[in-house]
Point group: C2
DNA sequence: AGTAGATAGTTGCACATGCAAATACAAAGC
DNA sequence: GCTTTGTATTTGCATGTGCAACTATCTACT
């Protein structure tokens, strides 16, 4: 087996590792959020993204990018959250095709309540992942990435 | 904002980065595999896992772990591939609850045909990801992890 | 031997997702 | 002004997924 073949295998192994870590974290968050507030991970992602806009709106398309979802899935995701009274659609005046979404007071309240649970679960699952030799370097790189970005 | 809050935010940002990278890679592989052989990423994962056993069997449960799927989803995934003639179920003699799966000649052939396409797509998307400053350190860590594992 | 409890896999059902088509609106060209 | 082209969002439809319940088999205990 040559050097080129090695590189291919390294990439494949790296991708499997990434997928495993992603699945581990997502499953842990899913459990925590579902138990605490019947929220899925994407639903929490929406609340999180909207709350980070702090009083500002987000278009459906931005939401689709933030959640890595298709437009149709985004529509239905927003429908679900709107039906639960967690956010509202706001028609945009200057581009009447566009639709903004904004957290309601209830949505913000639920987010504030769930966030510590989410953060604790994330902390726990990352600690767990760091104990697995295969996953540890990737976990470490997540922090390094943030430092790079912030620094 | 205190040090603890910073750590929380670093972890959250790291998780978003990981999810973004995962989504990027999965979408790229999905496109490549679907175009080449109407295979989804999980379906390819099954062929890959089975081929790496090289002539040996895999239980449903092992397959479920390899694909990070539920038992029921694994059943239907195997059904799909069996219907396409890519693998066969083999009843296990010593534990008649257990079911082994094995690639057919056709399945192995398809895998051999698709693998280079998969590898090329993975190589390309990783190169693309490495150009994004936020993703680059994580991509680098994937290789580092493999190096660590391989010793 | 016989029963109780655990384990492997499958099925019914509800639901979230993506793709393609439809609708509504905006922007550009003539 | 009108048409053509492009963009934002929504809906119809098919499909993949998880959970819970079910069947079949194994294991342990008596």
């Amino acid at each position: 087996m040559g050097i080129a073949d090695d590189a291919v295998e390294v990439r494949a192994q790296g991708w499997r590792t990434l997928a495993a870590l992603h699945g581990l974290i997502e499953a842990a968050l899913e459990r925590a959020l579902s138990a605490e507030a019947k929220l899925s991970v994407v639903e929490y992602t929406v609340l999180d993204a909207l709350s980070r806009q702090d009083g500002w709106h987000m278009r459906m398309q931005q939401l689709a990018r933030a959640t890595a979802l298709s437009p149709s899935a985004t529509t239905r995701l927003v429908n679900r959250l709107e039906d639960r009274g967690l956010l509202t659609r706001i028609l945009c005046a200057d581009d009447r095709r566009g639709i903004y979404t904004e957290l309601t007071a209830q949505g913000r309240g639920l987010y504030e309540k769930v966030r510590p649970v989410h953060d604790a679960a994330l902390r726990a699952v990352l600690a767990e992942a760091e104990e697995q030799p295969e996953l540890a370097p990737v976990v470490a790189a997540l922090g390094a990435g943030a430092r790079t970005t912030a620094g």
